[in-house]
Structure formats: structure tokens, C-alpha cells
Subunit: 146 residues, 2 copies
DNA sequence: CCTTGACTTCAAGTACACTTGAAGAATTAG
DNA sequence: CTAATTCTTCAAGTGTACTTGAAGTCAAGG
């Protein structure tokens, strides 16, 4: 069993962050009679999962939802971890694709030197923006409604 | 000349955001005798630049520093815009590369099912983490000191 | 002229992911 | 045994990028 300080030392995640994760229900601890946290050694894996998932771009809320699908009481098996991270690959691929699109758009815009909201087809995919009232700056990622 | 509402309509950026940008010194306006903001039409281009730069991952502070290198009083030329966005391409490329590394690491970790902070060479690039006190979770992007 | 809508400032609120500090209890090293 | 370290909770603060609301002013249409 690890104390919060030891878990922090092994994961590189601050004790304050670990307590925060516990408060948000991402990790759980047993307590000593004095109320000190004790973590099973497998908890390092959970923390690693959290950090990795954040790196992929998930919010703590999303990570919690994924972790909640894990069995309680028993350490997760390798295939269960794999199931959780399966969607990450797609997510990363999508992000890479978005960056490629941005890259292409950037080259185009440097090439034409426009950077004009009215004319640039990169910044202005629908060739007409700010039409419908609600959505601000949908060329930051939102689709312009097809 | 455009009012703040017109600029918002043309850019898709909320008036509150435009005022916020002005407060932070990213954009500037002249005022009518009554104190209402008036923007030259080229301001849409500046706002587009800001949104684009944010999309690339720059903070408003960084964007301001880039915009501060532009000449005042005269609308920037195409080559000046191009100069500003020149570094973006590298930045995007670096981000894509990081995601590719993450992707590879993810595949490896699913393959070996480890996700262990002590053994995984993806999460633990230096094969020894949490060594030096200061840096928490340096496998989220920090380098493990070479 | 009068109402409606757009504009003004300023303070405070929001969301995310934590960190910091205070006050005190428990554990560990010497 | 004592001093230093680590732990506890809880409240409040941090940074980024805004948004929202209040209270009031200005401009345009009928």
C-alpha cells in the first residue's frame, strides 16, 4: 500500500492533484484508522491512465466516465485497459487530420496572403459566415451547417 | 468603419470577446464623440489572424506579441502577414509529430497492456520518473532531462 | 418624440485543472 | 521523547479566455 506522497513520487503527479482526482471520483483510497489515504500499488496504473488520457485530450469528466466502466474491487485486466484506450487512437487520428487541414489552410493563406474572413475559403468554409445568429466563430472547429 | 457589432457579425467573434481583445491590447479602435468603437474594415483580417493563431495553439499573450511587430497606422501587407504565420507551420508540424509519438506509444501500450509507470517506456521516457523533486508529471510533455 | 436596439463601463461569474495556505493531527527519524 | 516530516480538511487563489449582468448612454425607425 502506498501513501499519497509515495503515489505522487511514483507518478510525478502532485499530492494536491491526487486528492483532487479523488474528490472528483477518478481514484479511490482506503483510509488508515487515523484517516490517512492508502492506495494499492496498481493505483499507479490508474494515475498513468489519467495522465495519458489527458494527453490525448480527454477532460477529467470524460476520464471519470471511462474509469467508471471498470470493475470495482479487482484490478483491471490488460484487455480492459485496452478497451478503454481503443477510442483514443481515433481521437488522436482525428486531431492529426484537423492539424493537417490547418496546415494546408495555412499554406494556402500564406500563398494568397488573404487572411480575409470574407474571401478566404479556409477561414470561411461556407463562403458565408456569421449568418446564423447563435454560433460564434464556427471556423474554429464548428461546421458551418451543410 | 465598422461598429463592434458589425465586426462581431463579420467575424463570428462575440462583441464581449472583441472588447476583451481590445482590453488586452490585441486590437485597437478609434472612438466616436460619444465613445463608441469604430474599426477600419481591415480589422476583420486582424481578428481572423487572432482566431487562426488560437487555432494553431498560441495564447492571446503570444498573439499580442506577434501583432505588436506589425506597423501602426498602415494596414499590414501580405508579406507581413506571411511572416507572422511562418512559424505556425513549424508549430503545427511539431504538434503533429507529438501526436504521432503519442499514437505509437498508445499502440505499444495497448499491445503490451502495461500502462505501468515503472515499466512503460512510453509513459516513462527516462526509465526513471519522479526522481528530481520539482517537475511533476514530465511525461505529459516535459523532457526527462538528458 | 419615443421606443427599441446597440452601445458604454465595470464588476463579477464561468469552466477547467489544479495549487496554496492555514490549522491541526499522525508518523517517522534520530 | 522530541523534532521534523507527512498527513488531514477546507477555503480560497491561479491562469486562460472569455461571458454575463447591471446601470446607464446613444442612435435609428416609425
Amino acid at each position: 500500500m502506498l501513501t499519497v506522497g509515495e503515489l505522487a513520487a511514483r507518478t510525478g503527479v502532485a499530492t494536491s492533484a491526487l486528492r483532487f482526482y479523488e474528490e472528483r471520483g477518478l481514484i479511490h483510497s482506503t483510509r488508515t484508522p487515523a484517516g490517512h489515504r492508502r492506495y494499492p500499488r496498481g493505483m499507479t496504473r490508474v494515475v498513468a491512465f489519467i495522465v495519458f488520457a489527458q494527453r490525448v485530450g480527454l477532460s477529467l469528466e470524460e476520464i471519470k466516465m471511462e474509469l467508471d466502466t471498470l470493475p470495482v474491487g479487482r484490478p483491471p485486466r490488460a484487455d480492459e485497459w485496452a478497451r478503454l484506450s481503443a477510442t483514443w487512437s481515433e481521437r488522436i487520428a482525428a486531431e492529426i487530420e484537423a492539424l493537417h487541414r490547418l496546415q494546408r489552410g495555412l499554406t494556402d493563406c500564406i500563398g494568397c496572403g488573404c487572411l480575409s474572413l470574407e474571401r478566404c475559403h479556409i477561414l470561411n468554409p461556407g463562403d458565408r459566415m456569421a449568418s446564423r445568429g447563435a454560433g460564434p466563430r464556427f471556423w474554429m472547429g464548428d461546421e458551418p451547417e451543410e
